[in-house]
């Protein structure tokens, strides 16, 4: 075992020696402290290693040859070892960031830096309370002094504020210590712990004073104005030091004291931590200054750690577990937050919008992305697992308020971090950055470190299984080969995914699972071809794309809640990254991720209230034997409805679908929304024992679906942008699926699944064809096109097939979906819903006609006379989809029978539903009907071909005429712009029904956003910038907490 005394001694001696070494050469002193910090970190790792093999080793060391309480004892256990290793590692990285500053400032700065680390290490190691005070002061004074290295006005002011605040808190801490000493007669924390609890009020007050002294150093809202100013003004290296090393050490002191606290005190401080988390993130919402935003985020994260430690301990969890969870949060915050501060220093941009400088530097952008995404708690980063665990525990112990607070805070965090990331990824900037190696090095190390820690954590995490790692592996591998030509990557991706799908994914799945696997993974693989249309490497698509597809497969393959949620979050993240690739997708991607995160948090809450699933046995199989309560069902249901874009929560959908790249839109619409369908179906299976078609809940769900279908269709009618039109159309189609699912009958579910399959085919088809059109014409406004049928006949045929299938006109497969949905609704007596569904389907004709007419028919525009047919890569998926549509149209049994079998595993096929050859006969007591898709196809062919032959016979020699060979109002038009009837095509419809689609939902969400930002701005006003006000805050905060504690 390493003697921790050596560690402290080493720091002290070096700090003194630095002055001498610096005289020899500046670089010698700098490299000396690098060595010292690395050795210290190594000692931590060495101790950790020793303890792993020798868990029973004595870890307490006494000073001066006495044992405690007579001497000061140091403890170097596992936790301390981890902290020592990490803190010194970050000390080293921070020091290397500060290399240039050290070169300028010389010995003082270097020695002070070492003293900060000395204080931090001492604080971690010591078990003596007064010794803690001393180390705390060493830490603080060294920090105060090092701030002054950067001698500008702001940092000096911030330093004074910091010192006054620190002075007050250490005064409180000191009085607390002496008072506690009076009651216990010792200063050793371990002895305090071994004493039976002292109930006198005086002791409680002593504990309170100690606690509050430490707590204020942890920058709780609202007594943290000083800290924010400090983060904003200090050198970024110093700010990073304070937010990581400094905070970590003090936090550990707080953790050491925590067992002493009375439950009431712990509850108050825990609550204060949560408030700090929520409000820190809330105020960060409107921050435009990057460093200050990081300050708010940092205080919020500290609050989260305090909260998690307290809450989990209050719930009586074993300390090992509490520590593990907290460590997950801590490590993420340590890596990410210090990294972000360093990045601030590298970009030297304070305004968030100016972070677009990163755009030209994909390496830094990736590093930034890793930090931001990790901080938000996305997988595979440790904070994801920590948050998962915390929420699960809160759910199990019914700590709803805590859960709500945590989730709200996390959502706010997602908003501002993602907005920031969006600025960086999508802004406009040409300027380049100065990137000294000394500053890049710590960034790279911490990003790589965080990524590898996360990777191994995911790999080792129990109950995850090897499958869950594939999306991440795919992301990394395709990231590494991203410089290869896109065609090669496409082939590789298709091969890898097909092999995985065929040999790993499909075999263990039941029929229902296979169906969704085919929709989700198969549907995506087909669309990979479209990405191969790009020239060169087309970097950035394939890592996210493959991650997305693997994650989609994993959703179906999940056997535990964690696996499901992990895959779900990876899918969301991948989709976000894909959407962000779109040229103007900044806002759209932000909306997507915020809504998705909102959904994900609801899902998280829902999962926490759901019984555990058995590992290794697919959820969709288990669902049949499980049951969940209404609340988790509601939460999960809403989460999945968000993904499907149900009316009211569809706000993100048109933006994301239209602003993403065309291939991405296609996948989003045709495949990704089906993940929501799968989820919703799972929830319905879970509650199938309690609800039936006539339950109020299912009626309500049905109405949600119907209104989604209706409003989606109606909004699609009024769009000029073809992609927006298709987006709303998708929303509408998903509405039908929701209605079908809400029926809770065999027929209803078959119709929903039939729609899902069909929607994949026709929406993929139309999107691909339209992608070709957008590519060739360079616009998405339909009125700017026209007459493209002659230039792009294949696209026209695809869109034609697509719209016939969407509208439900026989003989194509679309009619099947209409027939299924109407009969299943009528069979259950849902007459009014049927009527509204009918109306929505009729409205679909309006936007479908508009799509095909204004783009392909009518008058061609002269500027599009050289438009060519789409590249082959876009035609391949179209061909596959057309073949699929034709197959299920001519032979509907190949799809309807398997669907019925798949649904039959959950809801038995009623006897009155039968296949007589191709004739699907429905003989229920409430409804008779039939549909023979095969015969319809032949009859249609017959009635089409006979007149065609007739026309060819009597009218074989028609003369082909040129454009404008039309006459009206005694004139011959010559301008296609005035002749092509396209813009505002349904003006009359808008006059009649436009009032229904006034942007109410938009107004609502704008209002919510506005409200939060105003609240954020108002709250931020408490930070007046006046040092005295900040002190007043601290005093009032202390008094308030004291009153809350209520000790007399």
């Amino acid at each position: 075992m390493v003697n921790p005394m050596l560690l402290l001694a080493m720091f002290l001696i070096t700090a003194f020696l630095i002055a001498l070494l610096d005289k020899l050469h500046r670089k010698i002193s700098i490299y000396t402290i690098y060595a010292v910090l690395l050795i210290a970190s190594g000692m931590g790792f060495w101790q950790l290693n020793t303890l792993l093999y020798n868990p029973n080793l004595s870890v307490v060391v006494f000073s001066a040859g006495f044992s405690a309480p007579l001497s000061i004892s140091l403890q170097f256990g596992v936790v301390e070892a981890v902290l020592v290793a990490l803190l010194n590692l970050f000390g080293f990285l921070g020091a290397s960031y500060l290399y240039r500053r050290f070169l300028q400032s010389g010995a003082q700065a270097i020695a002070l830096y070492l003293l900060v680390l000395l204080g931090a290490n001492g604080l971690v190691l010591t078990r003596d309370i007064f010794n803690s005070f001393v180390f705390l002061e060493i830490l603080s004074i060294a920090t105060y002094a090092i701030i002054a290295v950067d001698q500008n006005k702001n940092s000096l002011v911030a330093g004074i504020k910091y010192m006054l605040a620190g002075g007050i808190s250490s005064t409180l801490f000191l009085i607390g210590i002496v008072l506690a000493y009076r009651y216990t007669g010792t200063l050793n924390i371990d002895t305090w712990l071994s004493l039976s609890p002292i109930k006198t009020p005086g002791y409680t007050v002593a504990l309170f004073l100690m606690a509050i002294g430490v707590f204020i150093e942890l920058k709780p809202f609202p007594a943290n104005g000083w800290a924010l100013d400090l983060y904003q003004s200090a050198d970024k290296g110093v700010a990073s030091l304070i937010s990581s090393v400094n905070t970590a050490a003090i936090l550990f002191l707080y953790y050491k004291l925590m067992p002493l606290f009375t439950p009431a005190l712990l509850e108050i401080l825990t609550g204060a931590g949560l408030i700090s988390f929520v409000f820190g993130n809330l105020i960060a919402l409107r921050q435009k200054n990057a460093s200050r935003l990081l300050g708010y985020s940092s205080t919020a994260q500290t609050g989260l750690l305090v909260f998690s430690l307290g809450a989990l301990s209050l719930l009586g969890l074993p300390q090992g577990m509490v520590l593990r969870i907290a460590l997950g949060l801590f490590i993420t915050n340590l890596f990410a937050k210090s990294g972000l501060f360093w990045l601030c220093g590298v970009t030297k941009r304070n305004n968030l919008q100016d972070w677009s400088v990163l755009r030209s530097d994909s390496g830094l952008l990736i590093i930034f992305g890793i930090f931001a995404v990790a901080l938000m708690g996305f997988p595979p980063f440790p904070s994801f697992f920590a948050k998962w665990q915390i929420i699960q525990i809160f759910g199990a112990s019914q700590a709803w308020m805590w859960m709500a607070g945590l989730l709200i805070g996390s959502l706010l965090e997602v908003v501002y971090l993602m907005r920031w990331l969006g600025f960086a990824a999508k802004g406009e900037s040409q300027s380049t950055l100065e990137k000294p190696f000394s500053k890049l090095f710590p960034l790279m190390v911490s990003a790589l470190g965080l990524a590898s820690v996360s990777y191994y954590l995911t790999l080792m995490y129990p109950q995850i299984g090897t499958n869950s790692i594939y999306p991440i592996m795919a992301f990394i591998l395709f990231g590494l080969i991203d410089i290869l030509p896109v065609k090669l990557k496409g082939v590789l991706a298709i091969a890898a995914l097909s092999l995985w799908g065929w040999f790993v994914l499909l075999p263990p799945l039941p029929l229902m699972g296979q169906l969704f696997a085919l929709i989700l993974v198969g549907g995506s693989i087909v669309q990979i071809f479209a990405f191969m249309r790009y020239q060169g490497a087309a970097e950035g698509f394939f890592p996210s794309l493959t991650m997305l597809i693997f994650a989609l497969g994993n959703i179906v393959l999940a056997s535990t809640k964690l696996q499901f949620f992990l895959a779900w979050e990876l899918m969301t993240l991948a989709a976000y990254l894909l959407i962000l690739k779109g040229k103007k997708a900044r806002v759209a991607a932000l909306l997507f991720i915020v809504f998705s995160s909102f959904g994900a948090y609801l899902m998280l809450a829902g999962f926490s209230m759901m019984p555990n699933t058995v590992e290794g046995y697919l959820i969709i199989l288990q669902a049949n034997f499980m049951a969940i309560d209404w609340l988790p069902a509601l939460l999960l249901g809403v989460a999945f409805l968000i993904k499907m874009g149900a009316v009211g929560v569809h706000y993100w959908l048109p933006a994301a679908y239209s602003e993403a790249d065309d291939e991405t839109s296609s996948i989003l619409s045709s495949v990704l929304s089906k993940a929501g369908v799968f989820g919703l179906l799972m929830v319905l299976i879970l509650i199938s024992r309690f609800v039936s078609s006539s339950s109020i809940s299912m009626m309500a769900l049905g109405w949600i679906g119907v209104f989604t279908a209706f409003f989606g269709a109606l909004m699609a009618v009024f769009q000029e942008d073809a992609k927006k039109l298709l987006a709303y159309s998708s929303m509408s189609q998903l509405g039908y699926i929701v209605v079908g699912l809400s029926l809770m009958t065999h027929l209803g579910w078959v119709s929903a699944l039939y729609l899902a399959v069909n929607h994949l085919f026709f929406k993929g088809l139309i999107f691909m064809a339209m992608a070709a059109v957008f590519l060739r014409t360079g616009t998405r406004n339909m009125y700017e096109m026209g007459g493209l049928i002659k230039k792009m006949p294949i696209a026209f045929i695809s869109v034609l097939m697509g719209i016939i299938a969407v509208s439900g006109v026989p003989p194509l497969s679309g009619f099947g979906s209409k027939w299924f949905i109407y009969t299943s609704l009528l069979e259950q007596g849902r007459y009014l819903q049927t009527a509204l569904v009918f109306f929505s389907s009729a409205i679909a004709f309006l936007y479908l006609y508009r799509l095909i007419h204004t783009v392909f028919l009518g008058q061609a525009k002269p500027n599009q006379k050289d438009v060519k047919e789409a590249p082959i890569w876009l035609i391949i998926p179209q061909g596959i989809f057309i073949m699929a549509i034709m197959a299920i149209s001519v032979f509907p049994n190949i799809i309807t029978k398997p669907l019925s079998l798949a649904v039959g595993d959950y809801i038995a096929k009623p006897e009155w539903l039968n296949w007589d050859g191709y004739n699907l006969v429905l003989n229920s007591p409430t409804l008779h009907g039939n549909w023979n898709g095969n015969l319809v196809m032949y009859v249609t062919m017959g009635v089409f071909i006979i007149p065609l032959i007739w026309l060819l016979l009597v009218n074989a020699r028609t003369q082909k005429v040129k454009q404008f060979n039309i006459v009206f109002a005694a004139e011959r038009p010559y301008k296609p712009w005035t002749t092509h009837f396209a813009y505002n095509m349904f003006a009359h419809y808008e006059k009649a029904l436009g009032f229904l689609v006034k942007p109410r939902v938009t107004a609502f969400y704008k209002g919510v956003a506005e409200g939060f930002h105003s609240l954020s701005a108002t709250l931020a006003r408490i930070y007046t910038g006046n040092g005295q006000t900040y002190m007043l805050h601290i005093f009032l905060y202390t008094i308030f907490l004291y009153l809350l504690l209520g000790v007399k």
Binding site: F133, V134, K153, L164, L174, G1025, N1026, L1032
Partner: protein, 123 residues
């Protein structure tokens, strides 16, 4: 008891000065007073009535026990708080000195010692 009351009074005066006075030097003085008050309070907490200083000399009634160790029979003041105060004084001194040096620097940059003149960082 007097010491305790004095200490608390000093603390209040210090806090008052820190919160009311606008001049940074005065605020620092307030801080110093607060610090001193704290030290008095600590000493007062450790004080035992009618006891002597914890120094082994004639004033303390001591006896040798069997093993040769020293046993204190009379009342002595708890030495630990006094020892703590020594440390605390040193620390307080350091902080005060640092504060003052900051104030001087600040005056050089900002030409003012009024704390209200330094509110650029806010919100």
């Amino acid at each position: 008891m007097m010491v305790l009351i004095c200490g608390l009074l000093l603390m209040l005066i210090g806090i008052w000065a820190m919160l009311i006075k606008k001049n940074i030097i005065r605020i620092i003085i307030g801080f110093s007073i607060l610090d001193t008050g704290t030290h008095l309070v600590i000493v007062a907490i450790g004080y035992v009535k009618h006891a002597t200083a914890p120094i082994v000399d004639k004033a303390v009634n001591i006896s040798q026990n069997a093993e040769g160790g020293i046993q204190v029979l009379g009342k002595v003041v708890d030495p630990v708080p006094s020892a703590l105060v020594l440390t605390a004084i040193v620390i307080g001194l350091a902080v005060t000195a640092l504060l003052l040096s900051f104030a001087v620097r600040l005056y050089k940059v900002g030409n003012s010692l009024n704390i209200n003149d330094y509110e650029e960082l806010k919100w």
